[in-house]
Symmetry: C2
Subunit: 152 residues, 2 copies
Amino acid sequence: MRSGIMTSMAVPNPIVDTLERAGQRLTGPRRAVAELIVAREGTFTAADLVADARVRRLGIGRATVFRSIELLAGLGAVERVDLPSGDHAYVTCIPAHHHHVICARCGRTAEIGDIGVGTLARSVTRLTGFRVDEHHLELFGLCPECQLAEDR
Amino acid sequence: MRSGIMTSMAVPNPIVDTLERAGQRLTGPRRAVAELIVAREGTFTAADLVADARVRRLGIGRATVFRSIELLAGLGAVERVDLPSGDHAYVTCIPAHHHHVICARCGRTAEIGDIGVGTLARSVTRLTGFRVDEHHLELFGLCPECQLAEDR
DNA sequence: GTTTTTGCAAACCATTTGCAGGGTC
DNA sequence: GACCCTGCAAATGGTTTGCAAAAAC
């Protein structure tokens, strides 16, 4: 795959779009990080991106990768998830209320809309008296492909 | 060695029970950590316990605190939760399938049984084809007390 | 008595920060 | 041209590890 670093106007990059829409500066390094993220399917860690950048010899420093991820997380373009392993990873996502299912084998993810967690939160309030303001739901399992692979 | 300090055989400690049941060695430091955990209401971090131990002048090292927490997490006596702040904290819990609501203000928690996340997982499978094996649900909000405090 | 656990300190590793130079708007 | 962003390297802070002494079974 080519990435030509950042000349591909042809390939639409939703993350770059998010940056533009938010009025953030579209710098070379940010575009590059955006490309790296889009090039990855599934979850990725900061270290993954640093490694990717290194392999492709983009001269991007660790700090910039971390700062870009932070920026994107703030904009809701990526979301931090805590893997069962304890690692911090990120997933790209459309900025809307939703959740992810994460494949424990390949890291691929699927987005799912608000599947009734709100209702669930309401019943928690009824049961405990706690007011629920926020929630994190992460589902882990196997994607269809990896289920097949497992059966072999 | 036995930590003096908290010799209360009278106070039943569910965490100590868990250790015994699991056939783990009941060492002084482990008991002490168990006591510290029980003494805390709500979430706590490894650093909290280290500080507590220090204040009470139990001669317990950082490493031991981390190792004990790890052990207890493996046994399901405590569970790791990732706070919205990004910190890693732990909550004590009864080893059964359940979730927690965490007060964002005081850290107090309430346990809740399986409130239909299973059903929810099933519908995710239907929608995405992912097999769901595991899930993390954390709810954050305000406990009854802190709601009152806020209104003031 | 054998095996496991502990405390200490050093090692690690991921993430953050200070700062001078360079890029973006 | 002003201000923001970047890279580098050093600092940070949480967590882990190696090892000899001590405790548990």
